[in-house]
Amino acid sequence: MMPALRSLDRALGFLMRTIAVLCFLALLVILAGNVIARDFQLYATAWLDEVVELLFAWMVFIGAAALWREGEHFRIDALERMLQGRAGIAVQIAVALISLFFLVVMTWQGLQLTIKSAALTPILKMPVWLSYVVIPISGLIMSTYTVAQLIYLLTEWSKMGRTTT
């Protein structure tokens, strides 16, 4: 069970990085092409904005989930480094619970937004939910990793209880 989960985790990490980097690369090519096309008046590019927004949203939210997995988001960890043993773990559990609360709200509300949006983009007639759906996907991945983190912290907590008492 555990090795299977571990390789799933690694595969997901790789997939998320790849999606984010590919979106970034596509944005680089499209925007550079757009500058050239406009200045040499090659083709009209009004539809580009819609594609750019879609790629940007996927890059940010999938990237945010990848960063969540790797613990790379901005945070101040001075307190938990100062506290040792169970106190430190307790703070980390509190942080994980608070994060989980926000992520669940974000996932749920993002899902509602995705389900309710029936609109199409004006030029390409793309459904707008294609962009919005990345919010609940990202939220769900981050929530799952937070739950895993909580399970880990709780086992650490109980292990420490046994050694100190």
């Binding site: 680089l28 949203a57 940010v60 945010a64 790379e72 901005f74 307190l79 608070i98 974000m106 509300q109």
Partner: protein, 427 residues
């Protein structure tokens, strides 16, 4: 009362170690639940989405990419050599070079922490090899990296522009003189410190050495010209300028100098995304938080509160700058910007402060915050690169902080320093 509770909760959450984006989100969600208005939470994903997908903000990853490519592609090192030939003979030697190299580099990149971590490493290595005191080198590396976000192009200006709707082009132009003044102030500080401690200088570069280093750096030196010229000439927007800068750096690194291999690119791209998405996710969460502040009329309460203390533009600005500096002690620079812009913008406009000038003031305050403990990202970055402890580095920094502070005071009370250049061009 509610405003104090909200801001207090936010700071407390950040201090116990909740990721900053989550702290902003939880504070907003919690406020609406406490107010008994959970139906407003439907706005959360919409605000997060629209705050983070603004076209202007796309400049963030591309300016960071340009900086990363220049650091990997040997461009940073050429700039350092050129600066060395230019000002190495002034008292303080490579300390002066450090300031000038950062100023030149800031014309190409737009992030202080990236500057500290990339160019900073080269600066530190060169200074250590030449036997400079490590604390002196680390302090000047940290201080000079804060020129980057003030001198155009600049990521914090892009963020400020995207929140307020103020023209990013005008903000870029407004940062030119303050950025140069910061460079000047730091050079004076290096000179004074070096004189007091009897530091030497480097030998003056001969004409041919200067010419050679200039020739080696001429292509990278074209980047700021392309960026600023292109934006002013209407050839491209600031976001497109960031893309052009990236393509140009990629071209120099891959084709001209051949110091970047194709196989390095995935790593460079991902490294760029780590730094960009950290910022963008905070901006996303702050999108909802800022909306909450306005929805709950917090800025109005603040105006009523502060106008009872402050009766003139100068006193109001003084108060705002003090608050920004105090917040900067405890919060990350960009966080101060995303929280305080919606909060203070109505206030300063009430007193007739130009929003462009206020942008420069705000970004300079957050730069001071990057250098001051307990939370200073540049301080941390340089301390970890140089192995100088944070406390020792902070003590060594004060002459340079004083220099930056003098420029901040000038920018705050003499509007022409910031808005002079943009108003010259948009007459």
């Amino acid at each position: 009362m509610l405003s104090f509770l909200m801001l207090g909760a936010l700071v407390a959450l950040i201090l116990i170690g909740v990721p900053i984006a989550v702290a902003l989100g939880v504070t907003s969600v919690g406020t609406y639940i406490l107010l008994g208005q959970p139906q407003i939470l439907t706005m959360l994903p919409q605000r997060m989405y629209s705050a983070t997908t603004a076209f202007t903000l796309l400049a963030i990853p591309f300016f960071i990419l340009a900086g990363n490519l220049m650091n990997t592609g040997g461009i940073t090192e050429r700039i350092f050599r050129f600066a060395s030939a230019l000002v190495g003979h002034i008292k303080g030697g490579l300390g002066q070079v450090n300031v000038v190299a950062s100023l030149v580099f800031s014309g190409m990149s737009g992030a202080a922490v990236a500057d500290a971590a990339g160019l900073g490493q080269i600066e530190l290595k060169a200074m250590t090899e030449r036997g400079y005191d490590l604390r002196f080198s680390a302090a000047i590396t940290a201080a000079s990296s804060t020129i980057g976000p003030v001198f155009p192009p600049s990521i914090p200006f892009v963020i400020y522009g995207s929140i307020t709707g103020v023209s990013v082009v005008q903000l870029f132009l407004a940062g030119i003189v303050p950025g140069l003044l910061m460079g000047g102030a730091l050079m004076i500080a290096v000179w004074l410190v070096s004189r007091a401690r009897g530091y030497a200088q480097e030998e003056r570069a001969s004409r041919s050495e200067l010419w050679l280093s200039c020739k080696r750096a001429i292509l990278p030196l074209g980047t700021p010209v392309i960026i600023i010229g292109g934006i002013l000439g209407g050839v491209f927007t600031p976001t497109e300028a960031s893309v052009v800068a990236s393509i140009y750096a990629l071209f120099l690194g891959l084709v001209v100098y051949r110091e970047i291999a194709i196989r390095d690119l995935p790593r460079i791209f991902w490294d760029t995304l780590i730094h960009s998405i950290r910022l963008l996710f905070v901006i996303a969460a702050a999108g909802f938080f800022g909306w909450l502040l306005i929805h709950q009329r917090v800025p109005d309460a603040l105006i009523t509160g502060l106008t009872s203390f402050a009766d003139s533009k100068a006193t109001a600005l003084t108060l705002v700058v003090l608050i920004l500096l105090i917040l900067g002690l405890f919060l990350e620079g960009i966080v101060v910007i995303v929280i305080c812009v919606p909060l203070f913008m109505p206030l300063v406009q009430q007193f007739g402060v130009d929003p462009v000038q206020f942008g420069v003031i705000m970004i300079m305050c957050s730069m001071v915050g990057l250098l001051t403990p307990p939370v200073g990202m540049v301080l941390f970055a340089v301390s970890s690169v140089s192995k100088v402890p944070v406390g020792a580095l902070a003590r060594e920094l004060w002459p340079y902080l004083l220099g930056i502070f003098v420029v901040l005071v000038l920018v705050t009370y003499v509007p022409v320093i910031s808005i002079g250049v943009p108003s010259l061009i948009w007459r």
